[in-house]
């Protein structure tokens, strides 16, 4: 199923949020097998969604992602632009 850009971005952000916290936890608990399993699962899922996102929206990483022609990296919007981000479920300010 094709997801739209913002939904895909939301899923990646959610998975990365989990991955960052598990990574920090694992730094001080390197022997926790359950956390390690969850971390590897999360990273693998996020990698798959990144590939899908890049096919649809262009490169995510400055020099780790291939680009279509012409060079796609410079394309707007950038993450600090209003249009780049998706609406949160709460009240919008």
């Amino acid at each position: 199923m094709m997801m739209n850009k913002h939904l895909l971005l939301k899923r990646i952000l959610e998975l990365d949020f989990v991955a960052v916290d598990l990574q920090l936890y694992l730094n001080t608990h390197p022997g926790d097998k359950e956390a390690l399993y969850k971390f590897n699962l999360t990273v693998t899922q996020a990698q798959m969604l990144r590939q899908e996102y890049e096919k649809m929206c262009g490169p995510l990483c400055s020099y780790r992602s291939p680009s279509g022609y012409p060079w796609q990296w410079i394309n707007n919007p950038w993450p600090w632009d209003y249009q780049f981000n998706y609406k949160l479920t709460g009240k919008e300010l």
């Binding site: 949020f17 730094n27 990483c61 020099y63 950038w78 600090w80 609406k87």
Partner: protein
């Protein structure tokens, strides 16, 4: 080294300008306990940190603070972008505007520019970790 990823760690989507709020939030960008100070604090302290756990943690939270810096910068920018000059003056950001327009510049809530004197890096792991708790213990 670092690789930039073209996304925020957490999305920011603010339609309505609110320069008063921007004036308070900007200290989290360039103030004493802001994200710039936090990232420099951790990324500097890691060089002399001793245990594998603590070295990795300083490296990784220092990196994450840079992502937070980007989120705060985005918030301040979106809060001032559509504001009128009168709104900016009413928010007591007139002096900021005369120097920086609506650009993002690292200052605290009262407009004092960022200084490296906000952070410490002493070469003693216990001293540095205590400094981290003082600076980052209440504001993540």
């Amino acid at each position: 080294m670092w690789v930039y990823e073209k996304k925020l760690e957490y999305p920011v989507k603010i339609k309505k300008a609110n320069p008063k709020l921007a004036k308070y939030i900007i200290t989290q960008y360039g103030g004493p306990d802001g994200e710039l100070a936090a990232s420099l604090r951790y990324l500097s302290q890691r060089f002399s940190m001793v245990t594998p756990q603590a070295r990795a943690t300083l490296n990784d939270i220092g990196t994450e603070e840079l992502a937070h810096l980007e989120i705060i910068g985005t918030m301040v920018r979106q809060l001032v972008e559509g504001a009128s000059i009168d709104e900016i003056k009413a928010a007591d950001l007139g002096a900021y505007y005369s120097d920086h327009d609506k650009a993002i510049y690292p200052v605290n809530a009262s407009g004092v520019p960022f200084t490296a004197a906000y952070v410490q890096s002493k070469g003693d792991p216990i001293t540095d970790l205590h400094e981290d708790m003082a600076a980052d213990g209440t504001i993540a």
